[in-house]
Symmetry: C2
Subunit: 376 residues, 2 copies
């Protein structure tokens, strides 16, 4: 296997798992959160700072890097790790979701996605084989199969057709892989229909991948539908392989999904939120621009050990944000990423010591009391 994965402990009262993923670029404790580095940088952070924050794996977007600066240039630079100076593992998505959400006039056929670049309008065709080739050129450690993200809402028949195509594409992706040192994950589709999700998963497992991802969630469906699909599908995923819930999510979503047995997460929320002044804390979310922080000389989160919380006040961060200073984005991002890394550390420690069920209940209760993550 290109990726060795060991479940160290399974929680007694939930489906939560403590695991270890071994890649050529180091070991990763799971459950893990992977910050998003869309264009070959986790926005506003140097790789040195990322490392200090406890980040072990990052995600990069194939669609963006293919269009700019181009995977061939990155290959020439020795791969994405050398290009961006990130020594740890990198997971790359397949580009499918970005074509679907960002590409102009995107159209899907059995061959693949045709689309126009959101940068210069040029025409492109992204096939399952091409997506693997690009990810191999990037020197990705964990590659994703090109999928057809099912829009929400979709009829059962639309969701079925899209799921079936994703399955055919997954087989083509596996055949296209040249470098067996790189892991390749299959993506479970099927919209909000449990039976389709099950069919998709069975087809992928039959083909055999290094890991399995739940895709097509967090695309507009009600939170409850997303949670239902995760709760029903995750336990069916092969226990000996890593399970990845794509594009999720809020701290509450992560804790809930860990309880269902999910091992890997990625989301733009901590980084994008930071740039918009949304800060995650142990006492609930803060919107730093609020006038009530104008003279607040306390730290963002007294329980946080990050550079931002140890050295700067809410009043200073509000001033930077109101003044549109770049340092606002830097300090906010440092804090939010550290918050997420701390959350994952607490999750892993709770599983290890057999307290995850208690941790989950008290975490969700407290999140509810402090208003949760209301992103509307």
């Amino acid at each position: 296997m290109a990726l060795s994965f060991t479940v160290i402990k399974t929680d007694a009262s939930t489906g939560a798992r403590l695991g270890r993923m071994a890649t050529a670029r180091g070991e990763v404790a799971t459950p893990v959160f992977m910050p998003v580095g869309t264009q070959g940088t986790v926005k506003a952070l140097t790789p040195a700072v990322l490392g200090e924050l406890g980040v072990r794996v990052i995600l990069a977007n194939t669609y963006h890097l293919y269009l700019r600066p181009g995977h061939r240039l990155i290959e020439k630079a020795g791969g994405l790790h050398d290009f961006m100076n990130w020594p740890g593992p990198i997971l790359t998505d397949s580009g499918g979701y970005q074509v679907f959400s960002l590409g102009g006039l995107s159209k899907v056929t059995e061959e693949g996605w045709t689309f126009r670049s959101h940068i210069d309008g040029s025409r492109h065709l992204l096939t399952p084989e091409g997506a693997v080739e690009i990810q191999e050129a990037l020197d990705s450690d964990i590659m994703m199969c090109l999928d057809e993200c099912t829009p929400y809402p979709a009829t059962f028949e639309e969701a079925r057709r899209s799921m079936a195509r994703t399955l055919r594409w997954a087989r083509r992706s596996l055949e296209a892989r040249r470098d067996r040192e790189k892991a390749l994950f299959g993506i479970v589709q099927g919209g909000v229909h449990p039976s389709l999700r099950r069919e998709s998963l069975e087809g992928l497992v039959e083909t055999g991948f290094d890991g399995y991802a739940l895709g097509g969630l967090s695309v507009g469906e009600p939170k409850e539908e997303m949670r239902g699909i995760v709760a029903e599908t995750a336990p069916l995923m092969p226990p000996e392989r890593p399970r990845y819930l794509m594009g999720v999510g809020t701290p509450e979503d992560i804790v809930e999904a860990v309880a269902c047995g999910i091992d890997m997460f990625d989301c733009v929320l901590p980084t994008r939120g930071a740039r918009n002044g949304l800060l995650f804390t142990n006492g609930g979310k803060l919107v730093i621009k609020h006038a009530r922080f104008r003279e607040d000389l306390g730290p963002v989160d007294a329980l946080c050990d990050c550079y931002t919380c140890r050295n700067f006040s809410r009043a200073y961060l509000r001033h930077l944000f109101m003044s549109r200073e770049i340092l606002a984005m830097i300090l906010n991002t440092i804090h939010n990423i550290r918050y997420y890394m701390n959350l994952m550390e607490r999750i892993r420690a709770a599983i290890e010591t057999g307290r995850f069920g208690v941790f989950k209940d008290s975490f969700l209760k407290r999140e509810q009391e402090t208003g949760g993550t209301n992103l509307d």
Copy 2:
């Protein structure tokens, strides 16, 4: 004296001086370059990074901090050092130049400057006494007297009237100072007229300040006029006190002014240039967006020891810049500030070892060969 200053060595062939400035917040070797931290942050850098780059003193803008977040809030936070977490000395300007260049409908009377905030249009009056009060509230280490920056061009009579008012304001500033631990510098005005500059300087010296600055330069006058005024005025400034050339400048300007006996500099060029993709190197200036850097896998400057040059290629920096990534501004600023700090280290070493004249000639020759800093 609020500020002790010692000239350690004067160059034999030029007027260059190696000095040491002792403040309550540490010693500073001169000639020194002070990065600009307009709104309580040197744009795109954390104070931790600033320290690693070798920065010892920074400049903050009174006008900006007075308007936002307000000097009273900063005073409440324990002063600007605590507010922004910068432990080293801070020099604050008086706000005069910013009122003149940024304030709306600014008008000067004998009392002071009236202006409208560029943020919300509110009306304000900035007097010499008020400028000292604000700077004391900020807990500045080196304060500047409010001056009336003479526009360019100005008639001799206009320049004379403005210079005379600046002199009267300087005396009022000194009388307004409450905290004698804080240094107060007088600003020499007089436009491009050597006789007025001399008269301004004599008046200030008679009053007696902790240091003397040349103001009203780099405001649109031809480079040669600026250099002429520095060359004629600097040698007349009291040798036992620090000499500060405000708002200057390019590496060439700095080397030339050091040769005239200037000890202190500040300029937005390295930081603003970095954000616009202009990089200073030992092989001349680079505009990183140029297509010729697209596949250039070498560092920005092979002779530079900064984090950016040790870890990233020109191709990566170009990609970040073209993609409008925040990391582009961070990495470019790190490099440019390190370039300026290295330049000052080389200047001081050259004075110390008696080679400054040779250093200056070869530096200016090489700058000329590589195109100099063409900012037009």
